[in-house]
């Protein structure tokens, strides 16, 4: 069973948001990293990018395919986890411990459209 962490917001594209003030640190869930398999390449996106909810913020490549990472919230990218560029496997090893990019939220109300841990867990079960 994949891990689902309490205290995070989850999107239906399997991203998580960890809120620190008005900055959301965003990564992909354990369910998502397991589905992707070995991640071999990460483009964590660019600092300063202005994104709308649902925009592609980053790109992951597994052995078999490319996978877009969408931002679940609108805002400006304040940081990207460039350590992942040389160590993409960290996402597989610890999906929640490795954010991919961080967004300063322009609209905190967007968070209410995301799922909490138990809703996300139910969502994952329903997908099968």
């Amino acid at each position: 069973m994949s891990k689902v962490l309490e205290g995070l917001y989850y999107s239906n594209e399997h991203e998580w948001v960890r809120l620190e003030g008005d900055v959301g640190y965003i990564g992909i869930s354990d369910h998502a990293q397991e589905a992707l398999g070995d991640i071999v390449y990460v483009d964590p996106g660019a600092e300063g990018a202005v994104l709308a909810k649902g925009d592609t913020a980053a790109v992951l490549e597994s052995v078999k395919a490319a996978s877009d990472v969408y931002t679940p919230v609108s805002g400006t990218v304040t940081a990207v986890n460039s350590e992942l560029i040389n160590a993409p496997e960290r996402i597989n090893q610890d999906a929640y411990g490795n954010y991919i990019f961080a967004v300063k939220l322009s609209d905190l109300s967007e968070l209410s459209g995301l799922m909490d841990a138990s809703a996300y867990e139910a969502f994952c079960q329903g997908e099968h």
Binding site: G37, D38, V40, Y41, V59, E61, V63, N92
Partner: protein, 355 residues
């Protein structure tokens, strides 16, 4: 998930296989170890692959040998010395129907082993072209197949009491008793490593699988099978060869013998402006994938036939089919996500075993 199950299906589930639909077969793309670890394990130790989805076609009759010699592009005479022979085979226009292995069978008959994706098509083509007196049978459901691949493969066979197969030369093939059943074993494979392919009755497959694992092999899935063959630059039908690509365009000249007659010979040799295969090391962002466009000196030259990360080299690599006059020292780029990313020509195969 819908799909045909091989005799090893329950074993894959037991081993934690991540099952996918492959040509309507349910097979593991990987096990919990993952594609990269399974790939590396095959190159450094020994892996076991379920390849029962492959097709087998039996060609019988006194005219079988001459017919197969005419059907395929390569010279099959080595089957008389107890060797399997690899060959593409073609339509009249010189493009590929499929590639296959030709095995010496019993009583001068011949067993052809073909790709899972093409079994029905190949069987129809081979039947259609067979002369009077030659019978062609699709015997795919009479055979399961395992591939034991890696430098430790010989040790595993010895541990199974099958040391005799270690005396086979490269591509050697013969009938052996394994797990109490009559099997065909050949020193062949699709990984670029030493190893064996074992053809056995389906009802014996699970027992053989469990024995080989007990004696040291580790299961590996389709994902690793693809990265391994790609590094060794072995063609995959639908990618490096297809109904639109001739064996010469795919870099398979070694397996085309123009001195003999075969279906598609004249068209293939007479093809004007034939394309060629190149190997590329990708130097840009992302991973090049099949179908991505290849440019040389800013002009479109062709496309990627297979692109992938390469676990053994640590690089992103691509095989591509390009215009025949594409300069070797040209400036190569690949279109990835709307941007032209840099690449450079490298020699193939990308990975070669130091024998």
């Amino acid at each position: 998930m819908e799909g045909k199950k091989t005799p090893l299906y329950e074993e894959h589930i037991k081993a934690g296989g991540k099952m996918v639909d492959f040509c309507s077969w349910l097979l593991p793309i990987q096990y919990p170890a993952g594609i990269v670890k399974e790939h590396i394990h095959t190159r450094t130790a020994v892996s076991l692959f379920d390849v029962s989805h492959m097709g087998e076609i039996l060609v019988e009759g006194p005219g079988a040998y001459d017919f197969v010699q005419y059907l395929v592009t390569n010279d099959i005479s080595k089957i008389k010395d107890g060797r399997a022979v690899y060959s593409p085979f073609c339509y009249e226009n010189g493009t590929c129907v499929d590639d296959l292995l030709v095995y010496p069978y019993l009583n001068g008959n011949i067993l052809l082993v073909v790709n899972a994706a093409n079994v029905e098509k190949d069987y129809a083509w081979i039947s259609k072209n067979a002369p009077e007196g030659v019978s062609v049978k699709n015997v795919s459901d009479q055979w399961a197949q395992l591939a034991l691949q890696g430098p430790e493969a010989a040790k595993v066979m010895t541990a199974c009491g099958m040391d005799e197969v270690n005396r086979l030369g490269f591509f050697g093939a013969g009938f052996y008793t394994f797990c109490g059943a009559s099997c065909i074993i050949s020193k062949t494979g699709y990984t670029g490593e030493r190893g064996f392919e074992i053809y056995l009755p389906p009802e014996k497959a699970a027992e053989a699988w469990r024995l080989l694992l007990k004696k040291g092999a580790v299961p590996a899935g389709l994902g690793a099978r693809d990265t391994l063959r790609f590094e060794a630059c072995l063609p995959l039908y639908g990618h490096e060869i297809s109904e639109e690509i001739t064996p010469l365009e795919a870099g398979l000249q070694y397996f085309v013998k123009p001195e003999k007659n075969f279906i598609g010979r004249d068209a293939m040799l007479g093809k004007p402006n034939a394309r060629k295969q190149i190997g590329l090391e990708f130097l840009g962002r992302g991973i090049p994938r099949a179908g991505f466009e290849v440019y040389v000196n800013g002009e479109r030259a062709g496309y990627v036939t297979t692109g992938s990360p390469s676990p053994s080299t640590g690089k992103a690599l691509a095989l591509a089919i390009v215009e025949g006059d594409s300069p070797k020292d040209g400036d190569y780029t690949i279109m990835v996500r709307g941007k032209l990313e840099p690449a450079k020509i490298v020699s193939t195969p990308f990975y070669k075993k130091n024998k």
